[in-house]
Amino acid sequence: MGYVAIKGGEDAIDNASRLVEYERLKSESPPLTIEQVKTQFRAGIDRIMGEGSLYAPEHAALALKQVEGCTLEGAFMLRAYRATLKRSYYSTILDTRSMRVERRISSAFREIPGGQILGPTRDYTVRLLNTDLASETFGSVKSFLEDIDSELQLSDEEAPRSFCKVVDMLKEQGILRPVDEDEEEEKRRVVDVTREAIKFPAPRSAALQMLARAETGGIAALAYSSMRGFGSAHPTIGELRVGHVGVSVRDRRGRSRYIGRIRVTECEIVSKLKQKGKSSVPYMSLGYGLCFGHNETKAIGMGILDRSMRVADEHPANSQEFVLYHTEGIESYGFTNHLKLPHYVTFQSGLDNLRNAMKRRDEEDRNAGAKKPKTMLNTQSQELADASPELL
């Protein structure tokens, strides 16, 4: 039975895409508006904006709606759309010290200057299915919002323009050293991974960019593996911040122009002792992670991997190449699915080899017959001549 090639590819592909659209719509439930997706699927939107490396909430909402909520596919959509956009400016460096903080915690100290701000988080909720949501109405939404508004006392104080970073304090006390104080110049250059193909070992700027665009699940898996004893010791969150940061660019005449603000999650991981030489004083090392939107798991994972990639050990999370290649969502998603492409040519050649080998083996068995032991020999010299002819 031959391996039948697929005929009539054209109309098959056309039908397939209409069929998947049919799956999305056949229940005739009221279509989701972009506004609903954008506002009520905030976590999903933030995730695919990060992995798609394009900060565009509406487009992200559209993508998520189009692909029925699959974040891998959604991130892929955004990456593809991003490639079509003209790029006119590089932004100036964002100073996250002047972040409009919504949430800010440190696990290293009980209290930190500026205070621990718990902010919006499900960390301390009990993950029980909330059955009320099954009967949520616009009315219940409004009344919930009114309760919140009544409790809020708007203070007339200016919101703090900036918070001093915990890691700055640690650096001042020499507990923490600036990460790349001894990297050579070339390594400190800021690389644009979308313009330059990556060569390993990659400079830290490239590694951080790739981590920022990486797939959240992959990051979590590798970070977890490095903490669970398969890598260096237990890291601590120096600081985790979620909030909005202003973005500005330099126009043609070099003047700085504010073009808007984006929400980001930033995390600084402080970890166990590092030591230059044997005699030098030990100090702590820093891992840094920042990504679009509110995605704490990814930011923390990035911080852990940023550090572990700079530690020489034989665990996968210590290998920059292993981490950066395998956490790139679009590539891993793409290649894993490419197995669905027809491979019958390659498979055929493999089949052929296999069949020949089986044939040869059968022939060998047939004429070799059951192996018989050699008969016992008499004199030693005879045995010697027989045993190792090549030695004589």
């Binding site: 059951a370 192996k371 032991p373 030693q380 045995e383 010697l384 045993a387």
Partner: protein, 283 residues
């Protein structure tokens, strides 16, 4: 005639056997020097070594020589519990007065034997040393297993051992990976004799070292053996190593002892055809 003291042996080995794969009753019968092969024709089981019998006396150095595949390394691996023996009995005077077959004791007792009563120096330093610990740490591991919990005494003992084996003491806290091949073997030797065991095994210790270093290591081993009076089993394919280090020698081929005797007799008056062949390649 004074009764010769055959009973003050240190190690008594009887019928030591190691077979890989699933042997049948006469797998041993169909393999060995007579057939020039270790592989049982019927079941492809590999008889690494079989029917190994010998005694070793305190302070004696026994050589084990043979080409690769002769089973000489398997022999010491079985005695040092790096592998599980398929059959045979081994009695060790210093352990329960030699009444127990040490091949069948519990893992804990085997670890006691390995740590207190035996030592092993491997051809490949990576098998003998833990490259995560420093050289001193490797020696400390042995001392700690012998319940020496005083860091001061551990470091004194480690530095005296390293001096004895001509390793510069200031390198005690360096990682083994930063040592040269000869130096790594010396650290292994220090580790092997850390708890003053009555018996140590040396498996192709100088193979792969360059000639000048080889001589130094051999001289070191000879000196230590004389100073400490320990028994040694030296495995080597290199007959000059056997000549320089050992009192008696066993010649192995295809997993069997084809001949054994005083080393000078084996080298100058070999009886078995295979030994004559082997020795003729040396002279």
């Amino acid at each position: 005639m004074v009764q010769d003291n055959t009973d003050n042996w240190l190690l008594r080995v009887r019928g030591l056997t190691k077979i890989y794969g699933d042997p049948i009753s006469n797998s041993i019968a169909y393999t060995g020097p007579k057939f020039g092969s270790n592989i049982c024709p019927e079941t492809d089981a590999i008889v690494a070594c079989a029917e190994i019998d010998f005694d070793l006396y305190p302070g004696e150095v026994l050589g084990v020589v043979g080409e690769s595949g002769s089973g000489k390394s398997t022999l010491v691996q079985l005695l040092y519990f790096d592998g599980e023996a398929t059959g045979g009995e081994v009695y060790f005077r210093s352990f329960e007065d030699g009444d127990t077959n040490i091949l069948r004791v519990t893992n804990q007792k085997k670890r006691y034997l390995r740590n207190h009563l035996m030592g092993m120096v491997y051809q490949n330093p990576r098998d003998g040393l833990n490259f995560k610990f420093s050289a001193g740490g490797n020696i400390a591991e042995k001392l700690l297993m012998a319940n020496e919990f005083n860091v001061g005494r551990i470091r004194n003992r480690a530095s005296s051992l390293l001096t004895q084996t001509e390793v510069p003491v200031e390198r005690m806290d360096n990682a083994p990976a930063t040592f040269s091949g000869g130096m790594q073997q010396r650290v292994q030797i220090s580790k092997a004799i850390a708890n003053n065991p009555p018996l140590i095994f040396l498996d192709e210790v100088t193979t792969g070292l360059d000639v000048s270093v080889q001589a130094k290591v051999l001289d070191l081993i000879r000196g230590l053996q004389q100073d400490l009076g320990i028994s040694m089993i030296v495995v080597s394919h290199d007959l000059s190593v056997i000549r320089m280090l050992t009192d008696r020698t066993m010649v192995l081929k295809n997993g069997r002892i084809v001949e054994s005797g005083l080393t000078d007799q084996i080298l100058q008056d070999p009886q078995h055809a295979y030994t004559q062949l082997l020795v003729s390649s040396l002279l």
